[in-house]
Amino acid sequence: MMTALLRTAFALVLFALAFAARAQLTIEITGAGANRLPVAIADFAGEPGVARAVAAVVRADLERSGLFRLVEAATPLAENAPVDFADWKARGADALVVGSVQPAGNGRFEVRFRLHDVQKQASLGGLAYVMTAQQDRATGHRIADFVYEKLLGERGVFSTRIAYVVKRPGRYELQIADADGMNAQTALASREPIISPAWSPDGGRLAYVSFESKKPVVYVHSLATGRRHVVANFKGSNSAPAWSPDGRKLAVVLTKDGASQMYSLNADGSGVVRLASSAGIDTEPFFSPDGQFIYFTSDRGGSPQAYRVPAGGGSAQRITFEGSYNVTPRLSPDGRSMAFVTRNDGRFQLALMDLATRQTQVLTDSHKDESPSFAPNGRMILYASEIGGRGVLAAVSSDGRVKQKLSVQAGDVREPAWGPFLKH
């Protein structure tokens, strides 16, 4: 097996860059929130091309969230222009964004914007950025995050990234894209399957399972350098990596001692410790955000159900009881709710449980949902589904109202993982 891995390593170099896949995810909004905040994003003043591009990204982000309603505002308004609040109020806007783009030398631009509360007739603040023309999207996402946080009181996720796997005949690609599906880049291309990507808490690395050596092996991959290393390649299968919240440890599933069981190890693959013990299958570990518990799927009770075990060891506690198939438990970032996949009459659907009350709500009406992943602000849950026999990604808000569909042309998309917030 080691020689196969070495051969693989040499072949990597030959293959790299041979394919520059540019499969863009397209996002379709299929549902929106009940009370959408009316907001006007005026075209930015100054450099017309760049100004229009930045404002367009801000609009698209806010609208896609399903929490804002865009009020028509085509005339450019500079960041420091006086605002006719009565007029904006008459147009139905609760908030207004104005901005300016000026050349800043060396091919760079200065983007300033300001957010106004139309009702209170007051500025809610602004920012200034220096950027290159190629960073118009990144800048737009930052502005949308600012507006979102000021108006809704929680952090936006427009600047975050998502990972997912695209399958085409004979080829699997692990891709990284912006949260709006744009700027997709291929981190890993392989002829064999890739599953279960998991972001490190710092957003710099992905752990995943690759079948490139004819069996499942867990890797950790640094995105910026493309350097990766094997963290678990024991006899049998190695799978289901999950990061501890401090990014120092991974929980994985190994079969080296028989059936699929959970182990913890350091991010370099050292220090393997068994986490729990059962006669059947234990898999799909996921750390609670406080690091205290590991939630997982187990068939120890006769059917696959969600359980949790203290991260430091201890006895397992069953979490799900309704139905005969409840798998892939994933906690919300605040630790209060748990997304999972439940089977109802042969249909696999995304459900959400309030962990305090144990109340469960099925969030989707599809039939092949899997692999839920929370946005870092907990607002949306990204998951894999199938439409017309093709793998697509979908996202639904925790209240089930806002719905989005993400798909690529001529390919199956699956195994989504929403990355963490950008570092401040």
């Binding site: 300033r112 920012l127 599953i195 004819k214 069996k215 079969t255 299958i281 898999t283």
Partner: protein, 175 residues
């Protein structure tokens, strides 16, 4: 194309008399949210190779060329119809102690990928156990799972799923 996006949040800007600081001239910011740089936005592509080896001639012929064992739904029991096939492979492993075998267990596509990986593992372990009982040695046989990732048949019906619930046996040089 290292991208730099410098952001300056000025308290002054919020107050209404904004100033922009060129990031290359500014010192370390203190109370603002800082000059920020987008890190890790670039992704370096990697492509895996296709490991190949030299296959053994003997296992390409006769009964040994048959490499698959199929399972009932939600079952890990080797059906009687496959017992003579498993015995033939066990005899070959006993007669050729240097030859190694990789058993790849598979599951149909319904449900969680990772749970299906664990189900495929159970099927692979069941076949391995039988081979060991028939005299193959532990170090000769590795049981792994491909879960639902390598379906032989791609349609969503039972005729297809029954082909996907299987173990495949690979010999030295084939994996």
């Amino acid at each position: 194309m290292r991208k730099e996006l410098m952001i300056i949040l000025g308290a002054a800007l919020i107050a209404g008399c904004g100033t922009t600081v060129d990031p290359e001239q500014s010192g370390a910011p203190v109370e603002d949210r800082g000059a920020r740089k987008i890190e890790g936005a670039e992704v370096k592509p990697v492509t895996t190779g296709d490991p190949m080896g030299t296959a053994l001639a003997a296992v390409k012929q006769g009964v040994l060329a048959q490499r698959s064992v199929f399972f009932d739904y939600d079952s890990y029991v080797i059906r009687d119809e496959f017992k003579s096939l498993v015995e033939a492979h066990a005899r070959f492993l006993v007669a050729n102690p240097k030859v190694r075998m990789l058993i790849q267990g598979n599951a149909d596509e319904r449900g969680s990928r990772e749970y299906n990986l664990a189900l495929g593992q159970k099927r692979a372990e069941a076949l391995k156990k039988m081979l060991l009982l028939l005299g193959a040695r532990e170090e000769q046989v590795e049981a792994v799972s491909l879960g639902e990732e390598k379906p032989r048949c791609g349609e969503g019906n039972e005729a297809c799923w029954s082909q996907n619930r299987r173990d495949d046996m690979l010999y030295t040089g084939e994996f």
